[in-house]
Symmetry: D2
Subunit: 137 residues, 4 copies
Amino acid sequence: MATKDQIRDFMASDFPQNKCLVESVGNQSATIRHKIGIDELRPGGTVSGPVMMAVADVALYVAILGEIGLVPLAVTTNLNINFLRKPSSEKDIIGKCKLIKIGRSLAVGEVTLFSEGNNEPVAHAVGTYSIPPKRDN
Amino acid sequence: MATKDQIRDFMASDFPQNKCLVESVGNQSATIRHKIGIDELRPGGTVSGPVMMAVADVALYVAILGEIGLVPLAVTTNLNINFLRKPSSEKDIIGKCKLIKIGRSLAVGEVTLFSEGNNEPVAHAVGTYSIPPKRDN
Amino acid sequence: MATKDQIRDFMASDFPQNKCLVESVGNQSATIRHKIGIDELRPGGTVSGPVMMAVADVALYVAILGEIGLVPLAVTTNLNINFLRKPSSEKDIIGKCKLIKIGRSLAVGEVTLFSEGNNEPVAHAVGTYSIPPKRDN
Amino acid sequence: MATKDQIRDFMASDFPQNKCLVESVGNQSATIRHKIGIDELRPGGTVSGPVMMAVADVALYVAILGEIGLVPLAVTTNLNINFLRKPSSEKDIIGKCKLIKIGRSLAVGEVTLFSEGNNEPVAHAVGTYSIPPKRDN
């Protein structure tokens, strides 16, 4: 397992371009925040789909690291995302992940995305990560 | 319908943060290129999942605009992506979209992603866009 | 909206080949049971994938009818299902659906499938139904 | 690898309830036929979603067996299906699978479903099978 601070440090050093902030992790869950500014918006005020996909992907990754520790080679094998409602252009995107299964080689979880402060999800995703085999040193 | 130049101009003005280049569009298809540099790489040399999701999403969008014209309010409703092989860290990502159905309100297409120069797909996606109703002025 | 008895009667008359039993419906949810016998098993004792897909599809349909009433022309547009664990060959399959969004033309929900009596899901699905426009007569 | 006759015999003995007929297999592909009769129809004349999901699932399985031989423990891990057009109530459903990747432990393929005689797909699916490790005896 890994703590929130350990994961935050790991993300900062290994994923410097990552703009998602880890809000909480543990108990087979994680909450991620992505600030929304001009770079994230399409004209007309929609948060871009790829930004929301990134939040879902990172939320899964963080929840998984919270369970199995800092495993950099865990990679996404499948992501399915449904876009439900137009997000606010003025609120951060919050991604809440709940893991559904952590197996020996695959982990599956779902992520619900919100515009902060609004209870109705803007998107919902289910993703699968592959977990590389452990190596004894 | 819209031509490649029209779509390129539209993307440049309406999606200034977009880093995908339209290589070709037409005949219910589109080819997109995304240059790969330090911003796109995870340590260890993998192209980040969200970059590949963005290429798939833009490839669908461009193929759809090629068929129905410049409709800015067409938005993704669903994307499902399978990551198949580790991409090269030194090659651009190429996304080739083929539309499967263009309906009155939904368009469905598939996108195969490659590291340029390698025939084996690095990812495969199927996505659905909703097309807003036409308005007569 | 429709009650459990109304939906049960509707399923019996309109879907006579359907083997799923409606256990409960309401509050944007539904629970479905599918008895498991020789017809549902692959040799080796696995419940067949298509049986589980059918349970997920019917659970969504029933939950949606519970909200919008008996609308026979509501049809599945997309289903994504992850198979997580091998189900028991001796227990009924239970499908629990929770709707995520009910829009004017699309409804999205998730379904978790269990072998009765075991808390760990055997499968998880997310599906979208299209809801035909209402007609005034 | 396995031939069409070997796969047909295997399906008949191991999956007696299966109603899909193997039309062709080989070259990382397979074609499957499902006859459509009263058992497959919903009132109003639509082929039921679960029947089409079953065709997609079997088409994938047969294509995979065609490549790796008769491996009964290969099982579906994920299936994503989009329903595109209303199928005919009077034509068989044809499923054409093309494998996208055959790895050591996962195989991914897509299946396009047609009402026989009509070129426009009624559904399109992408699925992943897990392939159990080989055992040496």
